[in-house]
C-alpha cells in the first residue's frame, strides 16, 4: 500500500492524494452523475468510502491489522436502485483493495436453497465460491428464512452464510437487500445477521421530478426523447401511476417507457407515406396518454 510513501518528513499524510490515487473520485462522481436523487444513499456511500480509505491508510501504517467488517444491508422499496448501487459498491471496494476481483454475484433464495435434503449446502457453497473475491448480493434476503416451516432448508443456507461472513471477511462482502419492513423482521428473527452487518443503508422513494428526469435519462440512452407536450404527459403519468397498486419507482417508469415505445412504433407504422427520421426519435403525448393509467380519468 502506498500510504507510507506519501508521508512527508513531518509525518503528515496527504489524504487527498491518497483519495485520488485510489481512483475513488471517478467512482463517486460517476455515482453522483449517473444516479438521479438518492441523496442520503450517496452521502452514506461517501462516508463509507472515506472510512475505508482511512482504514487502508491505517493498515499501511500498521495501526490496524484486522480486516474491517464490510457486509451491508440495502433496504428500500422496489425500483429504488439497490442493485445498481451494489454494482457501484463492488467497484469502490475493488478500487480500495478491500475485495480482490470486484465481481458482483446477484442471487435470490432459489440460487442458495436446495430442493431436497443435502442439496442446499453444495448449492450455497457453489455460489459462495463464485462470489469469493467480490460481492455477493442477496436480493429479497428475507425469503431465506421461513418461520412457519421449521424444516425449511433456508435455515441451512443461513448458517453457511453466517459462518462465511464471519470467517472469510477478507474474501467476500455480502450485501443483503429487500423491502424495509420485511428486512427489519428478518433481522429480528435472525440476530446473527444484524450483528455481522456493519452498514445499513436505506433507499428513499424517488419524488415525481426525479422520476421524470430518470425517464428522460432512460430514453436518451436509447436515443429517444420526449416532445415538450409528451413531457407534460409523462409528468401527469407519474403522478397517476404513483397512486396505483404495484408502483415500483424507476422500474415502473422503465416499463411505461417500453410500452410507450411500442405505441410509438404502432403509430408510425399506421402513418401513411414517409416519416421524417426525427419522428423515429420522438415520443409524442398520445404514446403516453394511451396508457391504462389514464383510463377513466377526466381529460
Amino acid at each position: 500500500m502506498s500510504a507510507a510513501l506519501q508521508q512527508d518528513p513531518n509525518g503528515m499524510i496527504d489524504l487527498r492524494a491518497e483519495f485520488a490515487s485510489a481512483g475513488l473520485e471517478t467512482y463517486l462522481a460517476g455515482l453522483d452523475q449517473d444516479l438521479v436523487g438518492l441523496k442520503p444513499v450517496k452521502l452514506r456511500i461517501r462516508e463509507i468510502a472515506s472510512l475505508l480509505l482511512i482504514e487502508r491508510v491505517r493498515q499501511g501504517l500498521g495501526f490496524t491489522t484486522e480486516a474491517p467488517t464490510l457486509h451491508m444491508s440495502f433496504t428500500g422499496n422496489p425500483g429504488t436502485g439497490k442493485t445498481t448501487v451494489a454494482l457501484r459498491m463492488a467497484g469502490i471496494l475493488k478500487a480500495l483493495g478491500f475485495v480482490r476481483q470486484g465481481q458482483l454475484i446477484s442471487v435470490t433464495r432459489d440460487d442458495l436453497v436446495g430442493q431436497y435434503i443435502g442439496h442446499t449446502a453444495p448449492k450455497t457453497k457453489e455460489i459462495l465460491k463464485k462470489a469469493i473475491g467480490g460481492v455477493l448480493f442477496i436480493d429479497e434476503a428475507y425469503y431465506l428464512y421461513r418461520p412457519d416451516n421449521e424444516r425449511d432448508y433456508g435455515q441451512e443456507a443461513i448458517e453457511i452464510l453466517l459462518q462465511v461472513m464471519e470467517n472469510q471477511r477478507e474474501d467476500l462482502v455480502v450485501i443483503l437487500a429487500g423491502y424495509g419492513d420485511r428486512m427489519e423482521k428478518f433481522f429480528t428473527l435472525n440476530p446473527g445477521f444484524r450483528s455481522r452487518i456493519a452498514h445499513h443503508i436505506d433507499f428513499p422513494d424517488y419524488d415525481d421530478s426525479e422520476l421524470l428526469s430518470i425517464s428522460e435519462t432512460m430514453l436518451s440512452r436509447q436515443n429517444y426523447r420526449l416532445s415538450p407536450s409528451a413531457r407534460d404527459a409523462m409528468r401527469d403519468y407519474i403522478q397517476r401511476r404513483r397512486e396505483q397498486p404495484y408502483f415500483s419507482n424507476a422500474r415502473s417508469i422503465r416499463n411505461a417507457l417500453d410500452r410507450a415505445r411500442l405505441r410509438q412504433a404502432g403509430r408510425l407504422m399506421a402513418h401513411e407515406g414517409a416519416v421524417p427520421a426525427e419522428a423515429l426519435m420522438l415520443i409524442e403525448p398520445e404514446d403516453i396518454l394511451a396508457s391504462r393509467v389514464f383510463a377513466g380519468a377526466p381529460a
Partner: protein
C-alpha cells in the same frame, strides 16, 4: 522415483503461494480450473478421477485453493493435478496442467522383459505400487 508431468515439471514442487498465483493467472485468462487425482502413476494413465466438476465462473484463486485443500484432505496419498481448460473456440482444450500433490513415498517403476515369438523381447514399465488394489497403493 519422482513422477513428473505437465507444466513446471523440471522445477521443484510449487508452494501453495506459487500455486495460487498460477491459478489466478488461469482465472484472469478466463480458463476453467479443475482438479484431478489418481493413485496410478503410470505415465500412460490419462484418465484421472475428477474432483467435482471443472470450476467455471470462478474469479478468485482462493475459491480453487479451498477445493484443493479439501481434495488433499480426502486423498492424502494420491497424485493431484490442477488443469486449466480454455473454452475459446478452436482451442477448446487444456491450456495448462501441473501436479500439486504427490504421495510421500514414490517407489517408482520396474522394467519387465517378456520373451515374444522369435526370441524377441517386449519391454514393459510397471509401477511397483500397481501390485496392490486401488486405494491401498500409497501410504500405510
Amino acid at each position: 522415483m519422482r513422477v513428473t508431468q505437465g507444466c513446471f515439471s523440471f522445477l521443484p514442487d510449487l508452494t501453495d503461494v506459487q500455486i495460487s498465483k498460477q491459478v489466478q493467472y488461469c482465472l484472469d485468462h478466463g480458463w476453467a480450473v479443475s482438479l484431478e487425482y489418481t493413485d496410478d502413476p503410470h505415465p500412460r494413465n490419462t484418465y484421472w478421477e475428477m474432483w467435482g466438476h471443472p470450476m467455471f465462473d470462478i474469479r478468485d484463486a482462493k475459491a480453487i485453493m479451498g477445493e484443493l485443500i479439501e481434495c488433499r484432505r480426502m486423498h492424502e496419498e494420491c497424485y493431484i493435478r490442477l488443469c486449466a481448460f480454455d473454452s475459446t473456440h478452436s482451442w477448446e482444450s487444456l491450456r495448462m496442467s501441473f501436479i500439486v500433490q504427490r504421495p510421500s513415498v514414490e517407489p517408482g517403476f520396474m522394467l519387465a522383459r517378456r520373451e515374444a515369438e522369435g526370441r524377441n523381447i517386449r519391454y514393459e514399465t510397471r509401477a511397483y505400487v500397481m501390485e496392490k488394489p486401488e486405494g491401498t497403493r500409497y501410504g500405510v
